[in-house]
């Protein structure tokens, strides 16, 4: 989706506000929102890609105005409602409906792994042939899907080189929509800064993106 989240290359977002020795969470509620997201995701009712897409669905003016963890709060509610785990009435009241079912938490202190790894394994146990080889010149497809995608606008229809084959990964464009993992090869692709931004960019500089087979075609 050509949403406001896809902001690589925009130029009027103001100065970068750097904070020295920044804490992980600025307010206790931010830590709770983070932990609620991680715990609720452990139910397996949605994929990591679906969580990203849900944030992309936040209307652009709201997206820009919200802080990072407010977006997480918003998307968690949307996911819980869409998967019928809570109702909006329950969210508004903060109380479970009288007839609502009680479930067992997927993540408890006892089942919490000692290392909190990523929620999505992302590497399926599947075979798929690589369509491109390291060193090969490729072009990104010019696609403008309304669904989730990890091919940013600034890198569409551009020519680059495959620098590394990372192996087989889940394809976000389908996995975000519960339409299957569509396992395929993922590559590190190098683009000259001038290919992306024109001749005002440095001739030396490059941008590397990790891109799936389905984003690429022969150049």
């Amino acid at each position: 989706m050509n949403g406001v989240h896809d902001m690589g290359g925009m130029q009027d977002m103001g100065p970068i506000k750097h904070e020295l020795d920044e804490p992980p969470f600025h307010e206790p509620w931010e830590g709770r929102v983070y932990a609620l997201n991680r715990s609720a995701a452990a139910t397996g009712n949605w994929t990591l890609d679906a969580t990203r897409y849900e944030i992309e669905l936040i209307p652009p003016a709201d997206y820009l105005r919200m802080s990072y963890y407010e977006r997480w709060y918003t998307r968690l509610i949307e996911l819980l409602v869409k998967r019928q785990m809570v109702t909006r009435a329950e969210v508004e009241s903060g109380l479970a409906a009288k007839d609502s079912a009680k479930v067992t938490p997927a993540l408890t202190l006892a089942t919490l792994p000692p290392v909190l790894s990523a929620a999505n394994p992302a590497r399926p146990d599947a075979n798929a042939a690589a369509r491109f080889a390291v060193g090969q010149k490729v072009r990104t497809r010019n696609i403008n899907p309304v669904h989730h995608t990890r091919l940013p606008r600034y890198a569409r229809g551009k020519q680059g080189f495959v620098m590394r084959d990372h192996g087989i990964f889940v394809f976000p464009d389908t996995n975000a929509h519960f339409a299957g993992e569509t396992p395929q090869h993922l590559y590190s692709v190098r683009f000259a800064a001038r290919e992306l931004w024109g001749n005002d960019a440095s001739a030396r500089d490059t941008v590397h993106l990790d891109l799936w087979d389905d984003y690429l075609e022969d150049a």
């Binding site: 925009m10 609620l36 802080s67 109380l95 408890t108 000692p114 990372h166 931004w197």
Partner: protein, 229 residues
């Protein structure tokens, strides 16, 4: 020009940069839940506990993990080891996951981690233009600036300008490589060891290494200079 466009966007209702205040109450009057984030989040947590979806003790443990158990000091320890141990450094650059497992970090934490070496001729910079992907297994959760529209938008089109904003001016003959984290691979920068650090212990070297230097927006300052530039 910039100011004019920003004024236009502000008038149109779009915040130019993420607000320091997480909630603009005036914009959320349609919500029936309390506008204050603390209350709204408490209400949500209470609901999810009541329905059995989350366990409050697990929530406490998750917050504790990210506040106290992991953070940039982990990455700094890895960088310092690479500076003093060429064999480890080679291992780190070719297979970061198994290299950091040697230092006691469970391999799962380093899965799909790639370490990028900065040199006098090459400067690597990490960004996630689409969201907030970050090498958190070694750095903890990303800082606000890394997740900000300002950084995400400009890092790919004007990395040298972004670096200047962080106080790091690169000569034109240095190559800048930007890594946009579009997939489930995570990138950590191995910064250059600063001049004047030859006599420091591995422990003291680790103390010099900043979070910013491992994202690639800064260099590690020489010990005599005090702060990172």
């Amino acid at each position: 020009m910039d100011a004019t466009r920003r004024d236009f966007l502000a008038a149109a209702g779009a915040a130019v940069t993420p607000s320091a205040d997480p909630v603009d109450a005036a914009e959320h009057q349609h919500q029936l839940v309390p506008p204050e984030p603390t209350l709204r989040v408490k209400a949500l947590e209470s609901l999810l506990v009541e329905k059995g979806i989350v366990d409050p003790a697990a929530l406490d443990a998750i917050v504790d993990y990210f506040e106290h158990k992991i953070g940039p000091r982990d990455g700094a320890r890895v960088v310092a080891r690479a500076w003093v141990d060429p064999t480890f450094k080679q291992h780190l650059l070719t297979d970061a996951s198994s290299a950091i497992a040697q230092l006691g970090y469970a391999s799962v934490r380093g899965e799909r981690l790639t370490v990028l070496e900065n040199t006098p001729q090459l400067h690597n910079l990490v960004v996630c233009t689409l969201c907030s992907c970050y090498p958190w297994p070694l750095l903890g959760l990303p800082p606000v600036w890394y997740k900000s529209s300002a950084y995400r938008s400009r890092a790919v089109i004007d990395p040298r300008g972004v670096l200047r904003e962080f106080g790091c001016t690169l000569s034109d003959d240095v190559e800048v490589r930007v890594w946009d984290s579009t997939a489930e691979l995570r990138y950590l920068v191995l910064p250059e060891r600063p001049a004047g650090s030859d006599l420091l212990s591995e422990h003291d070297l680790a103390a010099l290494v900043t979070r910013d230097s491992m994202v690639g927006v800064a260099k590690v300052a020489s010990p005599s200079l005090g702060d990172a530039q």
